[in-house]
């Protein structure tokens, strides 16, 4: 079972990250994919601050865990989780995000921003790249894991299932998929047109080890991370995290319009007030 003190620490970080994401979205005049950013906030905090072996001061350490954000449009949430871990400077992120020549683009670019493992943004491509990285680690007998976070919507792409098939066939136990199962795509809910259920069974059918969890329950996330088998396991693992797009902001949750957007001053204040009102539920409590 997760250490309650550790859970509390992570919750407080996630609470802080939500407020900072809203602040940035309000500050930036362009569009931010705030819905999907808030659905992966808790997961990213848990990964960068608990689950993954990473060192912001040594970003090329050969034994570091690798992280790929296949849902590249949630870049700002990855930047924020990494910033809170000590990778980047908060003021620079806030002031330059999305602007000309900024390292912090709307989708992550590894060439512009060292510390990012892979440039992503075109959906459905991340897992295959992660499979290649997992093959390399296994051949070199390296001990780290490769984590790849996907949106559930992008798993409509055929390439995802080609990669799922390869990882299952080659028994890549050092590969961990994380699916942000928020049941919302850009323009529709799961089941409106495309039906992804039975979702977990689809992964199991390709010989993956499946762990389902509540992606906003920090104790459950920590438990799920603790349950990932050793890299010698003959199956790759996927964490299917049940989440809510826009989590923490009442007017965004379950609203199709909040896949991406910008926030007026009033929107920003209301969103921050919402997060503060849910202070305990979101783990703001000390």
């Amino acid at each position: 079972m997760a250490d309650p003190k550790e859970v509390k620490r992570l919750q407080a970080l996630a609470y802080d990250m939500r407020k900072k994401l809203i602040t940035l979205t309000g500050y930036y005049e362009g569009i931010v994919h705030i819905g999907g950013d808030l659905s992966v906030t808790d997961l990213l905090i848990a990964l960068y601050h608990y689950g993954m072996k990473v060192d912001p001061k040594n970003i090329k350490a050969p034994d570091r865990d690798r992280f790929l954000l296949s849902k590249g449009h949630a870049a700002v949430s990855m930047y924020m989780a990494m910033t809170l871990r000590g990778y980047f400077d908060y003021d620079t992120l806030m002031k330059t995000y999305g602007r000309l020549d900024s390292a912090f683009g709307e989708h992550p670019c590894k060439i512009q921003l060292p510390g990012v493992e892979c440039s992503t943004g075109s959906l459905g491509q991340g897992l295959a790249i992660a499979v290649g990285m997992a093959f390399s680690a296994r051949m070199k007998k390296e001990k780290h894991r490769v984590f790849c976070m996907m949106g559930d919507g992008e798993t409509c792409e055929g390439e995802v299932w080609e990669a799922v098939n390869t990882a299952g066939s080659y028994k890549l136990g050092n590969l961990v998929g994380i699916v942000d199962r928020n049941k919302q795509m850009m323009t529709s809910f799961d089941g409106d047109y495309m039906n992804l259920e039975p979702y977990a069974d689809r992964w199991r059918a390709f010989n993956w080890n499946v762990i389902e969890l509540d992606g906003h329950d920090m104790a459950a996330i920590v438990d799920a991370i603790d349950q990932i088998p050793p890299i010698t396991n003959p199956k790759p693992t996927v964490l299917i995290a049940h989440t809510t797009k826009g989590k923490g902001v009442s007017y965004m949750e379950h609203e199709i319009n909040w896949h991406a957007g910008s926030l007026s001053k009033a929107d920003t204040e209301k969103a921050l007030a919402d997060i503060e009102a849910n202070y305990d539920k979101l783990g703001g409590g000390k």
Partner: protein, 319 residues
């Protein structure tokens, strides 16, 4: 390997076998060389026995394969993708662009069945690949007919830090053109395969042999034709191109590719951009058509870009 090859101009050798032998030679020397395929790895028959831990077959899934290649390269490996050109260049086009070229990763594409050589019809013909591949930023595009050149290019690729596309002709039965070891091949260079002063035929891949045959036909009529192997299509050897224009005036481009997005286009772009114009310019290759079934030789004749057509075009230019 080169010392085992009995070399005779114009005789057949399998480029795929040369590639298969070379990747073993490279894998022995470099622990980061991988041979990977989407169920099209005829060249990897021995490699997969010798280096099973550096061989991946993903089944028929080219998009996935290009993604995996990117992942391998991100970790410091040099993956060689073996496959048939249309699927490597078209099915996986976006992965080649975004996963590989955007990150400028040293992935090598070794594609067989260039142009209309596959014999399998329009689904398997490779008419667009050079146009597609040369439009990808950071991608280098080489087209090779001579099977022994494959080894030279694979060797040089070990120190080349960018994505590289190597277009082979048919791949199983290819004409030997150059004595192994006689020439040095480089990215961005062309090779004068035959000197001449009346006209230059610029070709790539298997069409270099056709061009040399055309030059022999023209010699009977007293026409002295230069033949240049423009194996490096991107980057293009502009210096050599402009020298040919200066020396011979007349330029014929001969290629087993759509005429409007291959070498001929690259050459006409270069001439327009630099303001250096041939006296006469003509291109022969695949027109805007799905060519259908037949051997490469039959189709080249049917669509008017074989040695006879090339010789006639040169004569016409000299009228």
């Amino acid at each position: 390997m080169a010392d085992k090859v009995t070399w005779n101009f114009g005789e057949f050798l399998s480029a795929r076998s040369v590639a298969g032998e070379t990747i073993i030679e490279l894998a022995k020397k470099y622990p980061n060389v991988w041979g990977i395929t989407a169920d099209q790895g005829g060249a990897l028959k021995q490699f997969k026995k010798d280096f099973p831990e550096r061989f991946i077959d993903v089944g028929i899934a080219e998009q996935n394969l290009s993604g995996i290649a990117a992942g391998l390269a991100l970790e410091g490996n040099i993956p060689f993708i073996f496959g048939m050109i249309p699927f490597m260049s078209m099915r996986a086009c976006e992965q080649n662009r975004t996963a590989i070229c955007y990150q400028d990763l040293p992935v090598r594409f070794i594609g067989t069945g260039g142009g209309l050589t596959s014999g399998a019809g329009s689904t398997h013909n490779a008419m667009e690949d050079i146009g597609i591949m040369k439009s990808l930023v950071n991608m280098t595009v080489l087209s090779i007919g001579d099977p022994n050149m494959v080894r030279d290019i694979m060797l040089l690729s070990m120190t080349y830090p960018h994505p590289l596309y190597l277009r082979l002709a048919q791949g199983k039965k290819d004409r030997m053109l150059y004595e192994p070891g006689k020439y040095e091949f480089k990215v961005g260079m062309g090779l004068t395969a035959r000197e001449g002063k009346d006209a230059t035929v610029l070709a790539h891949g298997e069409m270099v042999f056709e061009a040399l045959e055309a030059a022999n036909l023209l010699k009977e009529d007293g026409i002295d034709t230069r033949v240049v192997d423009m194996y490096s299509i991107k980057p293009l050897d502009k210096e050599l191109l402009f020298k040919c224009i200066k020396d011979t005036g007349n330029i014929l481009v001969l290629e087993d590719h759509l005429m409007d997005c291959g070498l001929a286009s690259a050459i006409s772009d270069a001439c327009m951009d630099e303001g250096i114009y041939p006296k006469k310019f003509k291109r022969l290759g695949i027109p805007q058509i799905y060519a259908g079934f037949g051997s490469g030789e039959q189709l080249r004749k049917k669509f008017g870009y074989d040695k006879t057509a090339a010789a006639a075009a040169v004569k016409d230019m000299l009228k």
